[in-house]
Amino acid sequence: MPGMKQSAKQIYNWLERRLQVEGPVKDAVLHKVPRNTASWWYVFGSAAFTLLMLQIVTGILLALVYVPSGAEAWNSLNILNHQVPLGWFLRAVHAWGSNFMVAVVFIHMAQVFLFGAYKFPRELTWTVGVFLLLMTLGMAFTGQVLRFDQDAYWGLGIGVFILSRVPIAGGSLVHLLLGGPTIAGATLSRCFALHVFVIPGTLLVLVAMHVWMVLKLGINEWPMPGRLVRKETYIEEYNKLAHEDGIPFVPGAFWKDLVFSAAVLAAVGVCAAVFGPSGPSGQPDPSITQTVPKPDFPFLWIYAVLSYLPPSMETPFILIAPILMIAGLLAVPFVASEGEKSWHRRPVAVLALSMVAVSWAVFTHLAMSTPWSPHMSAWSGDTLPVKYLREATPLVRQGAVIFQAKQCRNCHSIGGHGGERGPALDAVATRMTPDQMRYKVVTGGGNMPAYGKNLAPAEIEALVSFLETLHPKNEPPAFDPSQQANAATASTGGSGRP
């Protein structure tokens, strides 16, 4: 045993004499950090790094089988899913690793923001971090394209339409993105180059810079209300804190990083095993119109925002909002490089962060249920509750058939089934008189198309007489007071609507 130990030491010394890394590594590992930074709040950055490593390893493993060709990519993914032993699991780990990475990067950013860690002298660390976030999102988007299924195809299509709105250069930018006039093999090839060479390369360089600065400038101390950052005194104060009340980074703080990273990796593994890989959905054949494309999770909120924007706002918003958002993020450390770090004394920061978080959650949630989209097969697939048709006259039944056959159900639900684009019609008769319904059906308005040209008068009558029956038993249908007055005076009032 002592002999082995001896020779191990010799080998180590031989290597160290040539590499000379012991000094810098020791410095990095043993440098003192303020005691209170050894906290569970400080583990997200290292977890993001661990996930990046996981993505690189699984990405390389997938590249052993994946074929980055427009004609073969989709097939090779299916072979990975169904023929290569555990190919499905690797795809799942890579996909879930990506979801986790995006999430952890955002959480890391929120924590850094909340703790005021971007303030002097760590402004550049934040700036580099913003670019790391953009690169991470770039990886998520190009990764979604590499799946090269229907969702990838139409998601890219949305990208094309957004780019095409850029004034003057729009057309050229679209050609550059696609590598030609349409989404095709060339598009996949360039997304592959971005996803495996360009973005990861940049990502690694930026990560190196980011970590380097964290080591050189020290980990942000735990913010204390009333302890203000001033450029003249901060470095001195920090050094004092780190030296007088500091502990070596390893093992003091590092063990928590290790435990959390392991937990995140385990969570990725469990999600991958339980939920499996994502897709591929249908083959990327644009002539298949029976598809309801949806972007991957990190981009769902954009998808929701795009459906709520009024048309006139859309182009300005799409083109200007991302620039403003990125500029805003980059400006944060320069606008507020000094002063209070504690969230107890930064109400605006806390409010801003909560607002962003809540809006993000709301939009993502909305995008999962897409209440703005017609349910494409509701008209043919959803059943009408029997109670609405029991004891119905033939005319009412005919109206119910028209209601389904003319795709009204795609946007209006009855009995909880059908589209949510328009209002549910279970109690429509309590809200609208038959005349108002007729008017609305014929002329449309708001978000409803006009059906005047597509429905014969008899069909409209049948439809309205069906809608008239849609009211709760104990609630009378709406009526037109003027007509009732007319009826009372026994004069036959016609439908007096313009």
């Binding site: 440098h31 060709s69 427009g70 004609a71 073969e72 989709w74 195809y153 139409w154 299509g157 949305i158 094309v160 339409f161 957004i162 095409s164 709105r165 729009g170 057309g171 679209v174 050609h175 696609l178 030609g180 006039p181 349409t182 989404i183 095709a184 093999g185 060339a186 050189k216 920090y238 050094n239 030296h243 083959q283 990327p284 054949d285 644009p286 119109t289 029976q290 598809t291 309801v292 494309p293 998808y303 795009l306 048309p311 006139s312 859309e314 703005w372 989209s373 017609p374 494409m376 008209w379 003319k406 795709q407 795609n410 449309g444 708001g446 978000n447 198309p449 006009a450 040209k453 597509n454």
Partner: protein, 209 residues
């Protein structure tokens, strides 16, 4: 931060070393060295520039005039389309590579209005390009993405799109219906923005051509 004092000590070290060297070799030698270094940088810049030209040209290769991507494609005999109906057709993209796979299938909706009167719609929603679906019963195109709806003549009915559906140029040659296709329609190439306050009349989408 523990290493900050050391960093300060390495800085002056290099400084004094270079000062000693310049003391020994005289300012003329040193300034010549700097000149040569500048020459080296300039040389690299020059070569870099010369290489950049073909590289940029290569990168920009896909950027071409829209027209150069397009060509006339037959969708079949004009008589095979029933008057008053809208049919989904698909064709092979004229601009294609062997490794495009299924992506070179393109679909379009052909609406025949009269004996030789057609409107050929792109399936891409004018909002953000999702494939719209035609419902003959209600005579509407519906988009699955954000709920855009269009009338049979392609004009906007409701939802986020700010204009009607895109149309292809068409002509009838030897009884064949041909369209000028080859490029994914988008707002940059097919039309400028159209004010939705004044919707297109009579199904004549202003984006034609």
């Amino acid at each position: 931060m523990s290493d900050s004092p050391k960093k300060q000590s390495t800085g002056p070290d290099i400084h004094t070393a270079s000062e000693q060297a310049s003391d020994r070799e005289g300012p003329a030698v040193v300034s010549r060295r700097w000149l040569l270094l500048k020459a080296g940088v300039a040389l690299n810049g020059l070569v870099g520039l010369a290489l950049a030209v073909p590289i940029v040209r290569y990168l920009l290769a896909p950027v071409r005039k829209d027209e150069s991507y397009k060509s006339w494609i037959s969708l079949g005999a004009a008589d095979s389309f029933p008057v008053g109906e809208t049919r989904l057709v698909s064709f092979k993209n004229p601009w294609t590579q062997p490794w495009d796979g299924e992506t070179d299938n393109v679909a379009a909706y052909v609406r025949k209005e009269g004996a030789s009167q057609f409107t050929v719609f792109a399936i891409n929603c004018a909002h953000l390009g999702c494939p719209v679906r035609w419902f003959p019963q209600s005579q509407l195109f519906m988009c699955p993405c954000h709920g855009g709806v269009y009338y049979a003549d392609g004009s906007r009915a409701s939802g986020p799109p700010e204009r009607g559906l895109f149309t292809y140029e068409y002509k009838i040659i030897g009884g064949q219906l041909q369209i000028n296709a080859g490029q994914m329609p988008s707002l940059s190439n097919t039309a400028k923005l159209v004010n939705i306050a004044t919707p297109a009349k009579d199904g004549d989408c202003p984006c034609r051509g």
